[in-house]
Symmetry: C2
Subunit: 347 residues, 2 copies
């Protein structure tokens, strides 16, 4: 499979942004991580004064064969019901995308049940009716995994057609913390129990069962940690593949990607596994309650911006942090310098 080439992070633009931050009317460094964000944005966008105006959230929905093993507190039919909720504007990500002034794209990349093909507002890009049960064999074929990545790249291309400055990734899929934990365990080499949490709300017994199911899936499929596509297809998911495609296509266009929670970060690990330079275009957004999330961030070298004990997914944590990234951009674009304002510098 051919991936687009990723442009280099622009060090000159980043250095110019750093210089400008030190000229603005504030003690140098006093805006902390907002300053860092502006410098990273500058390098990503190859613009020392980067703007963030056009924003989008892309939510990929899919089902998981593994859900039949009882790894989620919610029944699988909720995936479709939540997609309908997204289309009517009633879910958390709808509310937060509206607040952020971001467009919201919902993609059926692999929901088990069918949607009316005339249903508007939904991108009908189903690759399969959910994955297979990875506790009994590979979740999907290599062809399906590649197809789902291409769907993600297409969707990003469509969203970027009229200009796009920032993107958030989101997921919907009952059972999808299970493949995400499997991906984290395989790619970090950590024990499954160290990267597996309660998802939407498992009991202690439910959590112990989930760990065993994941261990069985890994033992059976033997995914190769050096081959991200193998890991994705054997123990991943269709929405995870799609989100990886979104990230790769965004990085190819210098569009910064704000990675949401546990599932999106699993997708980021796959994307970076497939195309390492994608890493330069990622922002961590929030630290989830899911215990594996911290390990994933460490693996990717990302430091999330907020920790509000979120564990919803859908892109909610990512879209919440658009505000901070936009603030960083506005600071560097709109603040006066010491010279402009006639303010004496430190000394």
């Amino acid at each position: 499979m051919n991936y687009p080439s990723i442009p280099p992070f622009d060090l000159d633009a980043a250095n110019n942004a750093r210089t400008r931050q030190n000229q603005l009317t504030k003690p140098p460094g006093s805006l902390g991580r907002l300053e860092e964000i502006s410098i990273r944005l500058a390098g990503m966008k190859a613009d020392p004064c980067p703007s963030v105006s056009s924003k989008a959230v892309i939510v990929m929905a899919a089902d998981h064969g593994i859900a039949s093993e009882g790894v989620s507190a919610f029944p699988a039919e909720v995936t479709k019901q939540m997609v309908m909720n997204f289309l009517r504007g009633g879910a958390a990500v709808n509310v937060l995308a509206r607040q952020a002034g971001a467009s919201l794209t919902i993609v059926d990349i692999g929901v088990a049940s069918d949607f009316d093909p005339s249903l508007s507002g939904l991108l009908h890009r189903k690759v399969a009716h959910g994955t297979l049960n990875m506790a009994r064999g590979p979740a999907m074929t290599r062809t399906e995994g590649e197809k789902a990545i291409v769907v993600g790249m297409d969707v990003l291309a469509g969203a970027a057609e009229n200009g796009l400055d920032l993107i958030a990734t989101g997921d919907m899929g009952i059972g999808n913390t299970t493949p995400s934990s499997a991906i984290a365990a395989v790619l970090t080499g950590l024990p499954v129990a160290a990267v597996t949490g309660r998802g939407t709300g498992l009991t202690d017994a439910g959590l112990a069962h989930k760990v065993k199911v994941i261990e069985r899936a890994i033992a059976l499929n033997k995914p190769d940690p050096k081959d991200a596509m193998d890991v994705l297809c054997k123990v991943g998911g269709l929405e995870i593949a799609g989100l990886a495609g979104v990230m790769i296509a965004a990085a190819a266009r210098r569009i910064p990607v704000v990675v949401d929670g546990f599932i999106s970060t699993a997708a980021a690990m796959i994307a970076v596994g497939l195309v390492p330079d994608v890493r330069n275009y990622l922002f961590g957004s929030h630290e989830s309650v899911e215990i594996g999330h911290r390990v994933m961030h460490k693996h990717l070298g990302l430091t999330p911006l907020i920790n509000l004990n979120l564990r919803l997914g859908e892109g909610t944590g990512a879209v919440l942090t658009f505000h901070l990234i936009e603030a960083a951009s506005r600071i560097i674009r709109e603040m006066a310098t010491f010279a402009e304002a006639g303010v004496r510098e430190q000394g």
Copy 2:
């Protein structure tokens, strides 16, 4: 001095908000601190579905006699220069208030130099030309302290005239981390060194000197930790007094207050010392780089929402978190319930 009475936190409204959070289309608790914020907002505003539309930032500017002891990396004249920068819209708080859609009020409550009385956009409420040097005697008289609190209450009343849902407090005053550390040390009983940081950027030697100056001021003035007004007048500042007044007057009107960084949190300690129930109307916003800030939050029982290594003041950290508080309000007002959306609940 007479303070307004503070209405009780509305437990019924808070409980109704909690019930509603558990009916919304998401796993219960999955929006973490956003859910908590909405519940606190409901109790503060006595409204189970509280809205946040009208927002304001109030910045109090004043000078400090203690600055002559060389406790800041910046010269005192910068206070006035930064006020002019605020009026021209070039400072960080201007940028972030614009982004938040919040009004910004700048108050001269005690800047050492004079402003042209016809200067528009500035509230001319100077109580004194800065405080006196607290290393040689009390920073201000009790009359001045009370006058400054009344200024703060007046300013809040003016800002609230046409309705106000949320307020952020901000400060400007070269040298003002010094009285803030003094207040923290006196009211918590901790050693000065444990609550004193580098402010706008002191060296190691500068920091050691600052600690000694504060220790001397406390030893000389002997502020009574049980008398917040005594602490305020002996080792506080005029902008700190004004901000305490803002907080008291806001709480009296059920207007939630988002407390900014180190100086604003010192003001919150004074406000709560004077009128304990003000505490129910405060949100912590960010955890500053200043080492004493964590102790202050603990003293007040507040958990800040973000930690972005900020140390600027001006209200910047507080106004950044308006977005999160507004998100909490929108979630509870705009999300669909399981019943409305036809989504199956957990089970």
